[in-house]
Symmetry: C2
DNA sequence: GTCTATAACGAGATAGAC
DNA sequence: GTCTATCTCGTTATAGAC
């Protein structure tokens, strides 16, 4: 769940825009902000991303891909279901440590104002997280390391909700430890 | 936790602006939007609220007051700690049923872009919720209806985080039941 | 691929008449 | 208390030169 490289202009634009969306929201940043930070002009941005909507859709696709790769990494690393859940929560904690909100959590707040393509992409991100979590929860129940007191489907939705909310609130207090405490409680509440 | 009345201009402005902030965010609405909806002009808005920041601060103060009154109503209605927790969650559900996000949850996403006065007011809202919840949790432990397995302080932060996050995500799916499921699980996880 | 220049519009805000 | 008129600035976006 990280990137960084020498990077061409398009990628540097995405890096800056991603941070701005995660900290200020979709309606809280402009092409002028990105251009100024990169020392280029606004029309140069439009060369790489014709519209703000196109830039936004690219940001979500990129974030989704990186997140999916991180989930693949967790699966590849092995460990029991509880360990995977802790690592899943750690992905969120890493974002918060950079003083950012989850990209799609932030865009969920802006949802009503987003162009249609972005709206659907945000929901697909949550769907993918939910599907992965369900798999981990099912596996944990089968192997007896996780509590089997309610449907994995419901538990997965609970996990996503609590982690997104904990990010949102902890960021308001500039207190990542507040997030970590919630994450620990959450994992504990699921373990057998 | 509701209002509505014959209402003068200032109050009608607040009603419209509140809904717009809760659905579109602070940077997703304008004086022009409010004015158009009320059939008045932008300068008339500025007569009642000189700046957008002032309007924003008034919105939070008003919301905070109404929320505090609702908490007072829960206390006055009696019932055990678990019942109070369910009623607390129901306050959020009522907001979501109107297809809105919690005002302060939405503003927490916009936090970095808010004028200083609004930022502090958002945090004070969370603090007040947390304090009230702590009281309910302590009472529930003392009377034996709630589980006493971790500090009320931590549990209160967990409740706020999970409910705010569940609102954020459930709204993306236009699915209030998704919120209610999370709220039920949450209360159950706290009961003895 | 990046620039200058500019269009076309919307934002928050003010002056001053009624 | 609400209006018309206007200011200034920021926004997304395009045309066309280099």
């Amino acid at each position: 769940m990280s990137a960084a490289a020498p990077a061409g202009t398009a990628e540097r634009i995405l890096e800056v825009a991603e941070r701005l969306v995660q900290t200020r929201g979709y309606n809280g940043f402009s092409y002028a902000d990105v251009a100024a930070e990169l020392g280029i002009t606004k029309p140069s941005l439009h060369y790489h991303f014709a519209s703000k909507a196109e830039l936004g859709e690219t940001l979500i696709a990129r974030y989704h891909t990186r997140f999916a790769a991180a989930l693949g990494g967790i699966d590849a690393a092995g460990g029991d279901a509880e360990t995977r859940l802790r690592r899943y929560a750690a992905l969120y904690a890493d974002v918060l440590d950079k003083q950012r909100m989850c990209l799609c959590g932030m865009l969920a707040a802006d949802l009503e104002t987003l162009p249609g393509g972005m709206r659907e992409a945000v929901v697909r991100f949550f769907d993918a997280s939910e599907t992965w979590l369900e798999g981990v929860l099912d596996e944990g129940k089968a192997s007896g390391t996780l509590r089997n007191d309610s449907p994995s489907h419901d538990q997965a939705q609970m996990v996503i909700s609590a982690l997104e909310g904990a990010m949102l609130v902890a960021r308001s207090y500039h207190d990542p430890e507040r997030f970590r405490m919630v994450a620990r409680r959450l994992v504990t509440s699921l373990s057998a």
